[in-house]
Amino acid sequence: MAARQGRLGSQVDIPSFFIQILNSIQYGLLLFLCASGLTLVFGIMGVINLAHGSLYMIGAYLAFSLSEHLGSLWLALPVGVVLAVVFGAVLEWLLIERLYKREHLHQVLLTYGLILVFEELRSVIWGDDVHGVSMPPLLAASIALTDTLSYPVYRLWMSGVCLVLALLMAWVLLRTRLGMIIRAGSVNSEMVQSLGINIGVIHRIVFAAGVGLAAFAGMLAAPVSSVFPGMGNQVLIICFVVVVIGGIGSLKGALVGAILIGVVDTFGKVLTLEIAGVKILPELAGMSIYLLMAVILIWRPEGIFGKVRS
């Protein structure tokens, strides 16, 4: 990255470099959680769900309301996930199911409409204010790294939960009968159906699980990022970048893409880069992830782990 005539510098010493690495991984894992639902729904049902970010937002607002009413995030998390999964199943039954055989453009149109509906319902129910969600006291502490630097336990816990979920997802998809049916269904749903499996139910389970994952990611992020209008759209675009970088439909790709984005985004904001007197970083940090995506797609037009179609 350091061009000969340029100067790549930073105020980063070893401990804070370590902190930034932890931040990158934590952000990447959270993105993975959100993007995995998107990539599964696309890979298995062929549906582009633009409203996925809104479901992340709904999750965050659920965490806010539920933790106030139930008194703790520990109770809010399971209740919220159950609500989100039920909501996802209803959504699939009412609307998404009708899109499987349609063109991508109709899916884009309908789910764009849903973004507006969800965003406005959020405004009706919760208003347009920014809210904070308090961390459970157990996780509110920090671990001291040096005399002056420390790292919040909550972020470590978040990374751990994301990692466990990633492994769980991989296990379900690769090692269980349900996962086998899901994978078979993504290749040839008619064939699976003719073997006596109700593919409609499988689709509903996958979509509901995707909604659950997005909402859960929103709930996990709520204490760190706070809860605010428009948070879903921000995440949606980045999740799409993750999915496309990794290869659409690939869970492994989503993980690699998410970590890459996490690293590039985090370090783009803390490094400084100056070429021939022109400041490049952090001024252009906002462009970095899109630049990464453009470069990767020019190198591999189907994404890193995408299947190359003949």
């Binding site: 109709h106 149109l109 409409g113 507006l116 675009i237 252009l284 906002g286 462009m287 995506m293």
Partner: protein, 354 residues
């Protein structure tokens, strides 16, 4: 070109008879031209609203050329729209008017170059990847203008004086005049439509439709499809730039939102809503989208169970539901529904019931 091949019947191609649609168009343009002279047009707000609709119609039409005709679903057309606006803002001397003819030529040339470069990169990808790469490149441009001090940062630039249309000492129109601007945009829209319609009926247009329907078959017929797609993308981007130029003239300000994905998204919605591949469907879509937005915003506040609920303030709820219903029940958009209605009326006249 077999309609079945595309998997979706394109309205308009099999819809109205050419003579009938041409007559309808002439009537519409004449009505638009006469409108400012009637009492309805005396209202400045109406004229400005119609100007805005026509500007967005040019944008939607340009996107339709890429998306509906050639199958290039671009999620980054705001890049061209916004860049053209920024070109106007940057070439205008501080506090003085830019030359209309030079600045519009420069804006369109800049967008053509951007579309050529962007097209050369994005056309390597297809399908959902194409959608996402166009989005990514447009977002890069957005952040370039948003995060740097290149052109006013996130606040954008005000254009205090509108461009001056003086040509060889003669000033044909004054863009500060709302009605003049209306007529200039009406002419721009009509000319764009005619030009693009001409392109569609040419061999080039047929090749583009062929690419949308089955690219490998076009390749095996000996067409260098990449070049056709690139020219189509460039043409499309240039017209989006034309729209962006007029938008900057009308609003007197450019800001990064003109480059943002929200605008690309709503342009896409206009095209899909109106019906793709017909050009006039995009115009209907643009008008429907803007008018629906205004209609929903004008809804009153109601009282339900003693608590007041402002229907108009939450217009996005109705707008979103409207879009969902269109996606579910009018898969060919409003334009498709209109031509189906037209056909139904004609069929009834042709075969009277006993």
């Amino acid at each position: 070109m077999n309609a079945q091949l595309s998997g979706m019947e394109r309205p308009g191609r099999s819809g109205l008879a050419p003579a009938a649609s041409a007559a309808l168009l002439v009537i519409l343009v004449v009505a638009m031209a006469v409108l400012p002279l009637t009492p309805l047009g005396a209202d400045k707000f109406t004229i400005q609203l119609l100007t805005r609709i026509m500007i967005m119609a040019i944008l939607a039409m340009s996107l339709d050329l890429a998306m509906g005709v050639c199958g290039l679903v671009s999620f980054g057309h705001a890049a061209f729209f916004g860049l053209a606006g920024y070109v106007l803002a940057l070439v205008a001397p501080q506090g003085e008017a830019a030359g209309f003819w030079t600045s519009i030529a420069m804006a369109m040339a800049a967008t053509a170059v951007l579309a050529l470069v962007m097209g050369a990169l994005v056309l390597r990808t297809t399908g959902v990847y194409f959608i996402m790469v166009t989005l990514a490149l447009a977002q890069m441009l957005y952040f370039l203008f948003h995060d740097t001090k290149l052109a006013g940062g996130s606040d954008g630039i005000y254009i205090y004086v509108r461009p001056d249309a003086t040509l060889f000492g003669f000033r044909p129109f004054d863009l500060d005049n709302v009605q003049h601007l209306y007529y200039v945009v009406l002419v721009a829209l009509s000319l764009s439509y005619l030009l693009l319609r001409r392109v569609l009926s040419s061999l080039f247009g047929k090749v583009m439709s062929g690419i949308r329907i089955n690219e490998s078959r076009m390749q095996s017929l000996g067409y260098a499809t990449f070049r056709y797609k690139l020219v189509c993308f460039m043409l499309s981007g240039t017209f989006a730039g034309l729209a962006g130029y007029f938008a900057a003239v009308q609003f007197g300000v450019v800001n990064p939102d003109m480059l943002g994905w929200h605008l690309s998204g709503s342009a896409m919605m206009m095209v899909i809503l109106g019906g793709m591949g017909t050009l006039w469907g995009a115009v209907i879509g643009a008008a429907a989208m803007i008018l629906a937005e205004m209609g929903f915003q004008a809804l009153p506040a109601v009282t339900i169970n003693g608590s007041e609920f402002n229907l108009g303030k939450h217009w996005q709820l109705w707008m979103g539901s409207f879009i969902v219903l269109v996606a579910l029940y009018l898969p060919q958009g409003l334009g498709g529904a209109l031509s189906a209605l037209w056909r139904a009326l004609f069929a009834r006249k042709a075969a009277p019931r006993p």
